[in-house]
Symmetry: C2
Subunit: 304 residues, 2 copies
Amino acid sequence: MEKFEVYILGCGSALPTTRHFSTSQVVNVRDKLYMIDCGEGAQLQFRKMHLKFSRLNHIFISHLHGDHCFGLLGLISTLNLLGRTAELHIHSPRGLEQTIASMLDFFCRQMTYKVLFHEFDTSKAELIFEDRSLTVTTIPLCHRIPCSGFLFAEKPLPNHIVRSMTDFYGIPVFELNRIKNGADYVTADGTVVPNARLTTPATPPRSYAYCSDTAYKPDIVEQLKGVDLLFHEATFAQSDLPRAKETFHSTAHQAAQIAKDAEARHLLIGHFSARYDDEKVLLKEAAELFPHTTLAHEMLCVQV
Amino acid sequence: MEKFEVYILGCGSALPTTRHFSTSQVVNVRDKLYMIDCGEGAQLQFRKMHLKFSRLNHIFISHLHGDHCFGLLGLISTLNLLGRTAELHIHSPRGLEQTIASMLDFFCRQMTYKVLFHEFDTSKAELIFEDRSLTVTTIPLCHRIPCSGFLFAEKPLPNHIVRSMTDFYGIPVFELNRIKNGADYVTADGTVVPNARLTTPATPPRSYAYCSDTAYKPDIVEQLKGVDLLFHEATFAQSDLPRAKETFHSTAHQAAQIAKDAEARHLLIGHFSARYDDEKVLLKEAAELFPHTTLAHEMLCVQV
């Protein structure tokens, strides 16, 4: 199966602790790397996980709070020192380019590569990246400032050809692509061979959803329906629900509720408040409602 | 003896590696903390070393390269989240405040405390901080951009009173301060008791010099004469001397030469290039010329 993995570079919240870096993840889809959020120290963690900068071309920033983007300057600067030439694309809510410009101009004067900023509208789901095998769509979230999650979805793969059947019917090579994509085959004497006899279904496309930072927002469930892996922030325990509401964050229970309602296959929780010395309380709370829950931690790699 | 220690938060150079954070140190003088440089991740290392943010009021930035100051935003932001009220003073070469302003304005909107920027002239040695027991003076260095080191010097302490002698001469309490500061005592009958009979010399004042980043600059020796602890960058080995010259950095041999000529008591080397997997080659090179040399590493604490 093609690679589709999520690496946790940092899963703390605004206040860094001795145990957690601030937020950053890397999604590996067939050895192309996509960074989600870039808190302070993200480049250090990236190196520690032995990921390759050359495979990273897109960074997605959920919202413009420092713990989600203070690592950008260091990363951009390092790539420059390494003599990168490929363009780097940074996708974010409005305002990042303007805010970061004066420091970029000052600290990265002779750039060996271009940084291209792309701003998206956080009020609606929007397709912001697409290549042959993947789409990335924003997920409108509800935080103190404009904020979006990201849905990484593999494109449906063509069916697999059953070689013995195509040989049996003597199907010419130039017909195979059509058949892979679902066409029936008509023989010289006009007999229709149904596609189902010539192919087996492709592996179903997989998807990963990243939802952080956000208050409990049940209306995202529709967009997440059937997602394979859901990362949902769980900053607080249910006992701190008032604090969660006040700060537009979620509890572990709420994260599990979203996973359950979305019929996700697997839930990963993170963005832990510094107040919990042991996050097992968050895991326990989520797992009671949604058993297949995993606690994020630095250096964790999860298969989608 | 009063506390005077140096903590290494990071001792790598421009490119962070899996082994080193970029440059940052904390000097602890009688439980007041002074940060020197603030590379990415400095606040994380600060926490890991169990230092207290409340004791930190002054940060000294040697020069405006990213690996010496990209940690400032995260640190300032964290202190704000913690509700700090005391002013924070940042001393640096010209340009920092203007460069960082737009990000500070954007990311730290409702500040609970004031950040005050103080700019110094890197072309000459300048007293930039003074309190009852300490002075901090800049050391003009030679790098690709304006850059200063810092000399932390304890102020001379008054002599110790020899209680048995002051009792013997029946010296009144109000005279003791003058005597501590070196005065002789004149008895009622006009006899002069020399100060040396009434006091023992105070512990000699100690000093710490931080020299990074810099090309080999022998004329700093005069200012460093007799320093107790000298941190000198040793980015390269002598075999990479051409690279050191080209980039305005020093070799381990050159760092040792400065320590030797300055008659320093102890040399600490750091700011290691990412090219050395094992920095023992640098230690060996320096120690051949200046035996009392220590290799910096993260989490190291050195007594001055």
